[in-house]
């Protein structure tokens, strides 16, 4: 019975886990690269003008349905706009929000977390209290409220994500920085007379970086979702710019007449969010010395 010898199972399992991790990293990275290419090359590869309306060819089904019009691969929405082209252009908004909002959130949240976790004292008390207050808000309601106040637009969405989600980084990085701060290498740096600010940046930051990278990837996925949710409640960007969330909101209404308007942007969103989180997990495991 292999199961009664724990060590053996662990070693066996570890090889399997590593193979699975490699595959996971490749699959998720591949999809993200595809989305990135689509976003960059949108003007050249999208088969139709994503904004062109044609009420005569509204709600055309996708290409495999007989008697549909050629050229509209994934069908059209109720206004006759090409679904595939809109998904390709929607990737732009999704990725801009993911990268800009994700990076800003990670930077601000991690900085506050590092300060709270390493310097402790009143800075920690202040930051931790703020985190407590933030955690008492329902995040989606907070986001909608902020957009209502800031006005719709790409910039507002990015600000809203940063304002709401910095706590995710602050909480985790604070705990990690506290653990690292208690270790011998930090104590020896202090004894050697290194200034505390430099210890934080040169000693502790590199050790919490793998966690930040994994969280950042996760946060990018979350940002894409937040943009979609805000588009869904009609508070995102102007309605004539194609976004996945806006398409989903439209598709939700006419789901019984034209399922493809909902299904295809939903698949794009689903795979992108899943890939961001799996890519982050995969990266973290790559960096994890125990699994390596």
């Amino acid at each position: 019975m292999p199961r009664s010898i724990p060590g053996c199972v662990m070693l066996d399992g570890r090889a399997a886990i590593r193979r699975r991790l490699g595959l996971r990293l490749w699959l998720s990275g591949g999809w993200l690269a595809l989305v990135l290419l689509a976003a960059l090359l949108a003007p050249w590869i999208s088969p139709q003008d994503p904004l062109a309306q044609d009420l005569m060819s509204g709600r055309l089904p996708p290409f495999w349905v007989p008697q549909t019009e050629p050229g509209f691969w994934l069908g059209t929405d109720s206004l006759g706009r090409d679904v595939l082209s809109r998904i390709i252009w929607g990737a732009r908004v999704a990725l801009i929000v993911a990268f800009v909002a994700g990076t800003l959130t990670a930077t601000i949240g991690s900085a506050l977390g590092l300060i709270a976790g390493y310097f402790r004292g009143w800075a920690d008390r202040l930051i931790s209290r703020l985190v407590d207050i933030w955690m008492a808000f329902p995040p989606v309601l907070f986001a909608i409220l902020l957009i209502a106040v800031l006005g719709p637009g790409l910039m507002s969405i990015i600000i809203a994500i940063v304002v709401i989600d910095w706590t995710r980084f602050a909480r985790v990085i604070r705990a990690e920085a506290m653990n690292q701060g208690a270790m011998d290498y930090v104590a020896s740096a202090q004894v050697a007379g290194m200034p505390r600010g430099r210890i934080m940046l040169a000693e502790i930051l590199p050790n919490v970086l793998p966690t930040i990278v994994a969280l950042l990837s996760l946060e990018m996925g979350i940002s894409v979702i937040v943009e979609a949710i805000l588009s869904f409640v009609n508070l995102s960007i102007s309605t004539d710019q194609p976004t996945w969330g806006g398409m989903i909101a439209e598709g939700r209404i006419s789901v019984h007449q034209a399922w493809w308007v909902l299904v295809f942007p939903l698949i794009a969103l689903f795979l992108t969010v899943l890939s961001f989180s799996q890519f982050g997990e995969g990266l973290k495991d790559r960096f994890d010395p125990v699994l390596r």
């Binding site: 008492a136 019984h256 969010v273 899943l274």
Partner: protein
């Protein structure tokens, strides 16, 4: 004595948190440009109309003054009057809160059941393909948020195989004999199982959408704790006594492995309640979150404030209960 002091300290920090939430909402919705009264009135309203309405809702006073008046009212159970619905905020909020509570608790129950089954099966079949499959399913369920699960469920069980209702809390033309807003509880108590079935058919998909990410987190953590416990000496001892694997897992390992999961469920439950806002919107479920989004769209300041405070109260109350339960269950904390 010590427990009492801990409780008092926790209540004090809770009060500070609630105060902070109140200040932030209050300032955020007032400082930023945009006149709520102008948005309420038709474009042809006169300046006198606007002034009259501003005075009526107290918007002519300074922000600190407004906050004090509002805070005083809240402490006396008066949350103000909704601008868009022209009714007391407290009544509106209390009318919708039961719907959200029923949905959240239903989702929590589903998450615990799904996660528990996944963890126990994964432990029973550890090292096999079944466990690997459960791990992959957990990974996917965890990384996709409730909003997307809701949309997928709408396509699966609302359109492809239409077995559940995708919109509302209850079929509109049904006659409801209820005196409270806890429809599900009351339908069971009144033995009106036809209504229970209708309510559940509406609640199933939003609840499952909320439950899936939490189920995955529960499944993963509980399985991990169980597997660690399975290697402890006392478990091996039970096994040498000749007890079967099921007995060992359920009776010996589970009680010891469950504590971290319980704490996690408490924290995650507040995230789940937060998720009801968008999931209720998605399924047109008439709960607090759906009302909150309408309140924001209508710039209904008193209603927004009221709803946010109630959510914050709910979150802090859940956290308080979790901490107390944890202290009561964990002997090491009880005597510390």
């Amino acid at each position: 004595m010590l427990l009492l002091r801990t409780i008092l300290a926790r209540l004090a920090t809770t009060a500070v948190t609630l105060f902070g939430v109140a200040v932030i909402v209050f300032v955020v919705i007032r400082v930023v440009p945009g006149n709520p009264i102008a948005m309420m009135l038709p474009p042809n309203a006169t300046a006198a109309d606007i002034d009259r309405l501003r005075a009526l809702y107290g918007f002519d006073k300074s922000i600190p003054q407004q906050f004090l008046i509002w805070g005083w009212g809240v402490l006396h159970g008066d949350f103000g009057t909704s601008i868009s619905l022209r009714q007391p905020v407290l009544g509106l909020v209390l009318g919708r809160l039961p719907a959200t509570l029923e949905l959240s608790v239903m989702a929590l129950v589903m998450a615990v059941l799904l996660g528990g089954v996944a963890a126990l099966t994964g432990t029973r079949k550890r090292g096999t393909r079944v466990e690997a499959g459960i791990d992959v399913a957990n990974g996917v369920a965890m990384s996709v948020p409730d909003f997307l699960w809701g949309l997928l469920l709408i396509i699966l069980f609302g359109v492809l195989v239409p077995v559940f209702q995708i919109s509302g809390r209850v079929t509109p033309d049904l006659k409801l004999p209820f005196t409270t807003q806890f429809y599900l509880v009351e339908s069971v108590l009144r033995l009106r199982f036809d209504l229970t079935a209708d309510l559940l058919s509406h609640m199933f998909m939003p609840a499952l959408a909320l439950a899936l990410p939490l189920a995955a987190i529960i499944g993963q953590l509980l399985k991990q704790s169980l597997k660690e416990t399975m290697h402890l000496d006392y478990v091996t001892l039970t096994r040498t006594k000749g007890y079967g694997e099921n007995h060992v897992i359920l009776r010996e390992a589970l009680p010891n492995a469950i504590l971290p999961t319980l704490t996690l469920i408490g924290v995650q439950f507040t995230f789940l309640i937060g998720g009801t806002v968008i999931v209720e919107r998605l399924f047109s479920y008439e709960g607090l979150g759906n009302m909150a989004i309408d309140a924001v769209i209508n710039r209904d300041l008193p209603l927004i404030q009221g709803i946010v405070i109630v959510f914050a109260l709910l979150f802090t109350a859940v956290n308080l209960v979790v901490d107390m339960t944890y202290a009561a269950l964990n002997p090491r904390l009880r005597h510390a």
